[in-house]
Amino acid sequence: MRKLLFVLGGLLVAHLALLLVHPAGAVRLPDGDALEVGVVFDLGGRGDKSFNDGAYAGAMRASQELGARVRFVEPGEGSDREAGLRLLAAEGMDLVIGVGFIFTDDLTSLAREYPDVAFAGVDYALTVDAAGNVVAPPGNLAALKFREEQGSFLVGALAALVGGSKKVGFVGGMDSPLIHKFEMGYKAGVRHVCPDCTVIAQYAGVTPEAFGNPGRGKELALSQYQQGVNVIYHASGSTGLGVFEAARTLGRFGIGVDADQYNEAPGRVLTSMVKRVDESVFNAIQRVQAGTFTGGVYQFGLAENGVGYVYDENNRALIPDSVHARIEALRAEIIAGRITVPSTR
C-alpha cells in the first residue's frame, strides 16, 4: 500500500507539472474578426483521398488565400454530426460546412435554428414534398451539388475514342440514383461519339458496402475485360481499386472517379472524372467573405469547374492530341448548352 501511495503521489506531481507546460506553438482558440469557418467531416473522415480530403483542401486554400480561420470536427458516431455542427454554429462561426449527403437533415434543422450563421452542405440531398416539388433549403443554407453526369459524359467519350473497342465498361458501387447519374452521363458520352458502341454497366451491390468491395470490383472488371471491353469507368469508392487491379493484370485501362486516381495503377488509369469538392468549398467560403452568400442550390458542373477530367503529364501519352481536342470541343458544347446530358434513367 505504501508503494501504491508513492506511485499515486508521483503521478499527481507529474500531472500537475505537465499541466503548467505551455508549448510555444500551442493553438489558441480564435478570437478577433477574421472570417471563421467550421467544417464537419463525414464519418469516413480525413484521409479518404477523395471527398473529405477534397473539402479539407478547399478549406485550407481558403485559409491561405482568404485568411479564413478554419476549424475541423471529425465525428465519431451518428449523433456527433449534429453535435459538431451545433458546436461550431453556437460559437458564432461565419460559415459551417457539413461534408456529405448524410448531413442533410442536421443541416436543415440547424440552419433554421441559427438564421444568422451561413451553412453549406456538400452533396446536400434535396427533399421532394408530397406534390413532387423540390423543397428549397432554408435561406441561409447552400446546397453544394455536382453535375457528375457532365464529367462522366466526357470520360465516356474518351473511353470510346481511346478504347478501340465497340464495348466499353462501367462498374458502379451501390445501385442508387446518385450513381445512376454517373452511369447515364457516361453512356451518353459513349454514344455521342460512337453510336454503335455498347456499354456494359454493372453494379457491385445494392447496399453501401458495395462502395467498399474491391474483390467484387475485380471480379466484375475481369469479366467485362474478357467480353472485349478495353476501358472501364468506375464510380464505386474503394471497390474501384479492384477494377484497377484487374486493369493492371490484363493490361487494360480503368478510369478513376472523384479524385485523380492515377497513382492507384500508374500507366493503367486513362484519366479520372474529378469532382472538385475543394472548389465548391472554397467557392462557398469566398462568397461568405465577399458578403454575397445566399442559400439555395448551387450546381457545380463543367462551367463552374466543379467536375472535369484529368489531363496532365501522367496520362498525356495515353490520349492522342486529336482525341483531347475532340473532348475539349465537347466540353465547350456542354458548357454552351448545345449538349444536354441526361442524369436519370
Binding site: 500500500m1 501504491l4 501511495l5 506511485v7 499515486l8 503521478l11 499527481l12 507529474a14 500531472h15 505537465l18 499541466l19 503548467l20 507546460v21 505551455h22 508549448p23 506553438g25 500551442a26 493553438v27 489558441r28 482558440l29 464519418l43 473522415g45 476549424r71 475541423f72 470536427v73 471529425e74 465525428p75 465519431g76 458516431e77 451518428g78 449523433s79 456527433d80 449534429e82 453535435a83 459538431g84 451545433r86 458546436l87 453556437a90 449527403f101 448524410i102 442533410t104 437533415d105 435554428e113 440531398a125 451501390m174 442508387s176 440514383p177 446518385l178 445494392v206 447496399t207 453501401p208 458496402e209
Partner: protein, 356 residues
C-alpha cells in the same frame, strides 16, 4: 482493519492510480502534439460538464453506453463474453423503428411507447438468444457466435434498409409515426439542442432492475453461480444451460433497449450504422464498471464524457488522440481490476514456470 485497508486499496487507490496514469499519458500525448495540456483538459470539461448542452450530450451518449455495458456485464456475470452488443443494439433500434412505423399515428403514447420499447427489447433479445441457445445446446463458443452474428445482423439490416425502407438519397427510414420519446429539453429548456431524452429514465430503471435481478433474486443468484463455477453450480442443482440462454436473452434485450435512445428519442427514424461502435465500447464500459450495474452507469458517463469532450477539443487535437486516450484508460483501469491482475500474475507465473 486489514479488510478495510484492502477495500481502500482496491476500490479507491487502484482506480485513482489508473485515472492518473491515463491523465499523465494524456498530458504527454497532448504535449507531443504541441498543445498545452491544461488548455485541452479545461476545454474538455467546459464542453461536457461545463454547460447544460454538453452535459445533455453526455447523458445522451451515456444512455446508449449503459445499455450495451449492461449487456456485456450480465453476460460476464454468467461467465459468457458477449461481443454481440453491436448487432443487438442495431437490431433493437430497428425493432423500435418497425413498430413505430407500423403503428398508426393516432396510437396514444401510453400504448405506443411501451410497444416500441418492447419491440426493441424483443428484437435485441432474439439476436442475443441465438448464441445463448447454441451455447446451451451444442456448446458453441459464444465469442465466435456473437462476433459472427454481428456481421450477419448488420449486413441484413443494411440490406433491408437501403434496398427497401430508406428514403431516397438517404440511409434512413421514414420518421416513425408513434412511440417517439420526448427530449429532456421539452421539460428543462437549458438542455436545448441536446439529444438527451426520456430513454434515460427507462435505462435508469433498467439499471435498477438489473441490480435487483442479479443480487436479489434466485435466478440472478443462479446466473452468478454459473458464472463463477459452472461445474459446481451444476452439481448444486442449477440448470447451467438455462442460465446461459437466459443471460444472453437478457443481455440482448438490454442492448436492444439502447437502440431506443437513437431511434425513438433522438432522430425518430432508423438510420443505417447508427450503432457506430457503441456496442463494442460496451465491453470497455462493463470492464471499467466491473460488471456492476451502478459501476456500468458510472463508466458509461465517463466514456460518454470522453466522447463528447473529444468533439469539444477537436479544435486543438485530432480525434485519434482521444481514441488513444480511451485505449489507455481501458488498459490502466483493466490493470487496476483485481481479477485481471490475478489473471496476469497467473499467466506470468505459468510462463516463467515453463521457461524453467
Amino acid at each position: 482493519m486489514s479488510r478495510l485497508r484492502q477495500v481502500f486499496e482496491e476500490g479507491v487507490l487502484a482506480p485513482l492510480v489508473a485515472l492518473l496514469v491515463a491523465l499523465v499519458a494524456g498530458d504527454l500525448l497532448i504535449l507531443a502534439y504541441g498543445q498545452a495540456p491544461g488548455a485541452v483538459w479545461s476545454l474538455l470539461i467546459e464542453g461536457t460538464w461545463g454547460n447544460a448542452y454538453g452535459f445533455g450530450q453526455v447523458l445522451y451518449k451515456a444512455t446508449t453506453l449503459t445499455c450495451t455495458g449492461l449487456a456485456v456485464a450480465i453476460g460476464l456475470r454468467a461467465g459468457l463474453f458477449n461481443i454481440g452488443g453491436e448487432g443487438q443494439l442495431a437490431a433493437g433500434g430497428f425493432g423500435a423503428a418497425i413498430m413505430g412505423l407500423w403503428l398508426p399515428s393516432t396510437t396514444p403514447a401510453l400504448l405506443a411507447v411501451p410497444l416500441c420499447v418492447g419491440a426493441a427489447c424483443v428484437a435485441g433479445g432474439s439476436v442475443g438468444l441465438v448464441p445463448g441457445v447454441l451455447k446451451a445446446r451444442f456448446g458453441a463458443h459464444e465469442v465466435i457466435v456473437t462476433i459472427m452474428l454481428n456481421f450477419i445482423v448488420l449486413a441484413f439490416l443494411n440490406w433491408i434498409v437501403s434496398a427497401h425502407l430508406a428514403v431516397p438519397e438517404t440511409l434512413h427510414t421514414e420518421g416513425v409515426r408513434a412511440g417517439v420519446l420526448p427530449r429532456l429539453s421539452a421539460m428543462i429548456p437549458a438542455f436545448h439542442g441536446s439529444a438527451a431524452n426520456w430513454t434515460l429514465a427507462v435505462v435508469l430503471l433498467a439499471v435498477g432492475a438489473t441490480w435487483w435481478f442479479l443480487f436479489r433474486t434466485r435466478s440472478g443468484y443462479e446466473l452468478r453461480a454459473v458464472g463463477q463455477q459452472p461445474d459446481a453450480a451444476e452439481y448444486g442443482g442449477i440448470h447451467v444451460g438455462q442460465a446461459w440462454w437466459r443471460a444472453m436473452l437478457m443481455a440482448g434485450a438490454l442492448a436492444g433497449l439502447g437502440g431506443v435512445n437513437f431511434v425513438l428519442g433522438y432522430k425518430g427514424y432508423y438510420e443505417d450504422g447508427f450503432a457506430g461502435g457503441a456496442g463494442f465500447l460496451g465491453i470497455a464500459v462493463a470492464l471499467v464498471g466491473r460488471n456492476h450495474p451502478v459501476g456500468v452507469l458510472l463508466a458509461a458517463l465517463f466514456f460518454a464524457t470522453l466522447s463528447q469532450g473529444g468533439l469539444a477539443i477537436n479544435a486543438l487535437v485530432p480525434k485519434q488522440m482521444v481514441e488513444v486516450l480511451q485505449g489507455i484508460v481501458i488498459l490502466a483501469v483493466a490493470m487496476a481490476v483485481p481479477e485481471v491482475r490475478r489473471l496476469v500474475r497467473q499467466a506470468a507465473g505459468r510462463a516463467t514456470g515453463r521457461a524453467r
